[in-house]
Symmetry: C2
Subunit: 327 residues, 2 copies
């Protein structure tokens, strides 16, 4: 798996130039107008899951396959999703945007999360992406509909795939969901799970301290264990048999979750399920690349040092450079 | 102590209108040019502590007394400094700006902290303030010189007053300093302490998890106690007799610090010392108000709900409303 160092070329690497591939250039002005408070055009409305085929077809459609996949996250955690995508789709190019200057999203309001998500989407659309993956659970939970409504490429979030994986995993029909304050407050996982299997028992718990714990590198030890035990206490007593990890940071705490909950509780995260959903979508749209070795480009809104340092814990040494964009 | 609800009036409350008091209107354009990457004018350079007298004097100087004091912070913690200011200067009006959409600053890079601090300063200068207080330790440690260089009103940070209070408190000349990653990495407290008393022993420790702990409300209990004990272990073994709380959130953990370190270690925070320094400065400049009951206006960059909810833990019920500004 190759990583491309693009520091210093202004982000105009092979995956970064929309000029080379103009056909499905997205409508940036419209997006900008919507994020400035204007009425979003309803004509484009399409819920997540209702992917529209990129136009034009035929000869141009072949070129569209070569476009990169755009992934954004509030910061670093989305690298767990990118890692799953790269593992499953090794021929694809990826452009990852981490909004590191403004993380975390999990404690922010709906209004601000939608605004920031639209700005992230606009940046990636301008890079000529063929599919947008919203890797951040909080942004997926809160802003996915707004983003999909204004965007001409298919948009995939992590909520639906994660919920589907949890429904497949549970035997007793008792699922625990943990996430940030904003993700849990949005009720997005609860709605998705209830729609997929009405009557299912769902127990939710916001766990605001787990993201700072993981970013500090405290994924083991007494403080992490007691914090996790505290957060999971009520879920454990509810008799859940499946725990849905509704935040990209949480897979790094899997060992601890397992120890606190015991072997009888299955852990489900969205990363693998989301990658599988994106693979299926690309196939259905005829947008999958069949050959070549893909690369990843990283963009961040903070200076890149911390992203690279912490990002390696999430994805490995291929997080070796990133380009800062101003916010 | 009165609070003024200014929601809905667009921030044009009595303390909010710079139109009424034009004489020392700050040079916003110059500030904007500097923050856009232009060379800052050196003619205005003045280190913190070298306050310049506001002009013009005489009749207009009397009016300048009526201007509000501007205070900014990365978010909520600066309310501990505002509280100390209000207690000591009850006749003054205050405008508080919390950059809640972009908190925390403590894990951000110097470059971004300077940029955000300049934007905060520009907002407050446009409100016609007579003095600027940088309540955030991280912004004070990293960006104070840059801010003071471009600003025509006196600028006060929390580092110098905090360091002075610690030097006064220590008997053995062994001081521990705790703060965010950015504050400790800047070395600002170490430089200030060494300048004030050469040869003093200084032991520093970044404590990144304490801010999220306080914001989650976990200022007591096992997790907080073990986290604090872990962070303070090496300082305790160094034999410090004074602990300088180099972050506005930390006073809420004072009871825990005391328990972990024992009664022999004095705790010093910057809030009270900063308020005293501002009082002295106002007196020297002839800018202090002698009568009337001051009020506080709150501005935030996020939606105000969380600021009000968490802010009350820091300052009390007078945090009852805030106006959101877009960022």
């Amino acid at each position: 798996m190759a990583s491309r160092g693009i520091s210093g070329d202004g982000g105009r690497g092979r995956t970064g130039g929309s000029e080379a591939l103009p056909p499905v250039r997205p409508r940036r002005q419209r997006l900008a107008a919507a994020s400035a408070g204007g009425e979003a055009p309803r004509a484009l409305a399409a819920a997540n899951g209702n992917a529209r085929r990129a136009r034009p077809v035929g000869r141009a459609a072949v070129d569209n396959r070569r476009r990169p996949i755009g992934v954004f996250d509030s910061g670093i955690g989305g690298l767990t999703v990118l890692k799953a995508l790269v593992d499953l789709l090794p021929h694809e190019d990826f452009i990852y945007l981490g909004d590191t200057a403004r993380l975390p999203y999990g404690t922010k309001s709906r209004e601000v999360i939608v605004q920031y998500s639209r700005e992230n989407t606009g940046f990636l659309l301008a890079k000529g992406i063929k599919v947008l993956v919203v890797a951040c659970n909080t942004a997926s939970a809160v802003a996915l509909e707004e983003i999909a409504r204004d965007t001409v490429v298919p948009v995939a979030g992590v909520i639906e795939p994660g919920a589907q994986a949890a429904v497949r995993a549970t035997r007793a029909g008792k699922i625990g969901v943990i996430g940030t304050e904003a993700t849990i407050a949005s009720g997005a996982y609860t709605r998705a799970l209830q729609r997929m299997r009405p009557g299912i028992e769902i127990y939710t718990r916001p766990c605001p301290l787990l993201v700072p714990l993981v970013e500090e590198g405290w994924t083991e030890g007494e403080v992490a264990e007691r914090t996790v035990a505290y957060y999971l206490e009520s879920l454990k007593q509810s008799g859940i048999d499946t725990l849905l990890l509704g935040c990209t940071h949480y897979p790094l705490l899997s060992a601890l979750f397992g120890r606190v909950l015991g072997a009888g509780v299955r852990l489900v995260d969205s990363a693998t399920a989301t990658a599988a959903a994106v693979q299926k979508r690309l196939g259905a749209l005829g947008l999958a690349r069949r050959e070549g070795r893909g690369a990843q480009s990283f963009f961040v809104t903070e200076t890149p040092e911390r992203f690279i340092r912490v990002g390696r814990r999430f994805m490995g040494p291929q997080v070796d450079s990133a380009v800062r964009i101003e916010r």
